[in-house]
Symmetry: C2
Subunit: 423 residues, 2 copies
């Protein structure tokens, strides 16, 4: 029996009862002979309450002090969890990100982990303790300031610690039973996936699946740490994410892993761009300089008659205004006709490594959409993914149609618990 890292999200430790339930589960793992490291998020709504307080004293809270504030949340949950474990007769010690050796760069509010030096965690484990670590936080290498890792930070903390401690597995406990073939809120017949490769999981995460964030999966793939996503409310096996199916998850890889969708993006079309070298570069330099992350980019061949082309790209709705402003400023130098902004779009993506060797997948995908009466506005593909942009109103119907067409529907109307996953 080796070392296990378990991560519990905010919804799992939302109140004293939740903390006690989680404590029991942790003690169980310890009793089974594991060394146990637990990464915990802030309780339920704590982070939102802290943000609300911050907004009351400062209009745009950010930076060093905002990180100092937010990290109070995990401090509370981890100390309570350690107490609850002690109350069950086992030894536990809690550690801040800094104490656990989570070293980051200095980019406050979205720091990146640059090293993990878990000496104190190792000592605590060797002395027979369960180690509880604050997720989402670290300490900057240069200034020794408290930093936070941004969205999905606690999952990343867990995977990073699992890698540094050479854990057998990183268990991500959440309020759903695992990763599903589609969002169960949209597709009632979605099935829990028993095993999925890192590659497919990365594509699902990039395409709108919320259970695991891209960043965390990428970290796990780099260090080859198997992730087991499972519910903290049941004892069921969840979804294993790894290089090769192992142990309980000896299954053949499906051709298609799942269907993801995303309605958080908007589309900007730059109309009438002169079709000559350097124009696209100038456009995306302007957007990048405004620190906006873009997703799909599509450029059609230019109409021969005009020598002009249209370039479309998608980006988070929240950054739409900023992108338009940045582009307007460069209109004269770049020389396009106009900008079109559309936030009534949705993206549907089909993901599966099997599509590399199954040439019919693309055709079947488009056929399913067409049969459902869904119009396609943009198309973008990777080796193991096809994504289309449609009207936002069509998204749910499109997801269900594709899910059925690829034989992903379960036989029963499975009841699944689904909600927010903390951070």
């Amino acid at each position: 029996m080796g070392l296990v890292v378990q991560k519990y999200g905010g919804s799992s430790v939302a109140d004293a009862e939740g903390i006690k339930r989680v404590a029991k589960r942790i003690v169980e793992a310890k009793k089974n002979g594991h060394q146990v490291v637990v990464v915990v998020s802030a309780m339920g709504d704590t982070t939102d309450e802290l943000i609300d307080l911050a907004e009351q004293v400062s209009p745009m809270p950010a930076g060093r002090e905002f990180d100092m504030l937010l990290t109070a949340g995990e401090r509370i949950s981890m100390a309570l969890l350690a107490m609850a474990i002690k109350n069950l007769g086992h030894e536990a010690q809690s550690f801040t990100g800094s104490q656990a050796g989570v070293i980051t760069d200095s980019v406050h509010n979205k720091a990146r982990i640059i090293d993990v030096t878990p000496g104190r965690i190792r000592t605590a484990l060797d002395e027979g303790n369960i180690a509880i670590v604050a997720g989402f936080q670290g300490v900057s290498a240069d200034k020794k300031d408290i930093t936070t890792l941004g969205r999905g930070g606690s999952d990343t903390t867990a995977v990073a610690l699992a890698a540094a401690l050479d854990a057998e597995v990183c268990e991500i406990y959440t309020d759903v039973d695992g990763v599903f073939t589609a969002d169960p809120r949209v597709v009632k017949k979605a099935k829990k996936i028993d095993w999925i490769s890192f590659e497919d999981m990365l594509e699902l995460a990039a395409s709108g699946s919320k259970v695991l964030l891209h960043r965390c999966v990428e970290y796990a793939r780099r260090y080859n740490i198997p992730i087991h996503v499972r519910s903290s409310f049941s004892g069921l096996q969840g979804t294993w994410v790894s290089n090769e199916p192992t142990g309980d998850s000896k299954v053949e890889q499906a051709i298609i892993s799942g269907v993801a969708h995303d309605t958080s993006e908007a589309k900007i079309t730059v109309v009438g761009v002169p079709d000559k070298p350097g124009e696209a570069a100038a456009i995306f330099r302007a957007v990048a300089d405004a620190e906006i992350n873009i997703d799909m980019i599509v450029q059609n061949v230019s109409a021969a008659s005009t020598g002009l082309t249209d370039i479309s790209f998608t980006l988070p709705k929240a950054e739409g205004r900023k992108a338009i402003d940045a582009l307007e400023k460069t209109k004269a130098t770049i020389g396009f006709d106009s900008l079109r902004y559309d936030d009534q779009i949705g993206k549907i993506s089909l993901v599966g490594a099997g599509m590399k060797t199954n040439p019919g997948v693309t055709a079947d995908f488009f056929r399913a959409l067409s049969d459902a009466g869904v119009n396609i506005e943009l198309i973008s593909t990777s080796e193991i993914r096809i994504s289309v942009v449609t009207r936002a109103d069509d998204v749910n119907e499109a997801v269900r149609a594709v899910h059925t067409a690829f034989g992903l529907d379960s036989d029963s109307d499975e009841a699944v618990v689904y909600g927010g996953t903390g951070r």
Copy 2:
């Protein structure tokens, strides 16, 4: 203009409005040319809420994890305060006790400061920042664990930082106008004291005055740091506590500084103790071994006929049960008759260095009590203090009588704000 340490209690930063008000006051001090270090307590009821959470997961929360939990409170208030100051256009950085160099022993929940190494604070000040420091917390020298300083901890943090940074003054902001000649809730005509010596303040604190704790005053006296206790709700001068009246407080020391009272104690009488060497030592060894702090001790001469004496002492009510148990266990070896426990007592103390050179003070004190019909049960004195124990019901009347008798009453019925002072 030199360096000023300001400390704000929980009631001063109870909500966003309070934090913004305090931020303005801090910025004012900075604008006046001071380098400013601010020590802040947890917001309002935060600590109580955290204790409540802890009790929900563990019946007797204590130790390392309890400290980890409680220190989240200051982390929140200090970060918010730094944000509020930035919002006023000034630079501020917040620091945990650990970051501020508050080094303690390893006694969790009531750690003692053993060193202060404020290198990061000094750097922040030199770079033009206002430094905000979490009160009440430190880091243990040996294990690098987070510790808390126990009751009155934030005041002690402020004085310790003032000493380490060689501050001009340590300003303790609270929700009262200063130290009064008696508790204004009991004596309506109590007067604010403009200046009081460390010695008298120590005696008042030891005798039940709650505005400053004994420990904090003792620290200030040792390093000769003037304390200015004042209201965070007004701009008025408060009470200066120092070796010599200086600056705004050039006043002659009064004969009597004030009247303190305390109804938090109980009295234990050990009846029929053989009057021979070693008996008292055995009794107080038993009490000390149970880690109980005692206050007054009184032993009368023994009755010649029996060779037996009675020994009485007072102690916090909360520790009464423990003391009785400890003494009962040693009854056989010590050889006393019986124990009497009385928690319906109160203590009234008259404090003033002037009584050393004014022989009539004691007589006047007893006369005032007698005129008010108050019966005295125990008497204890120091060079600059007389304390008596009476029935609890008589305490308020006794305090008022003594206050009037020593000419401490103000001319006007002064309206004063009074409430809890945070920690």
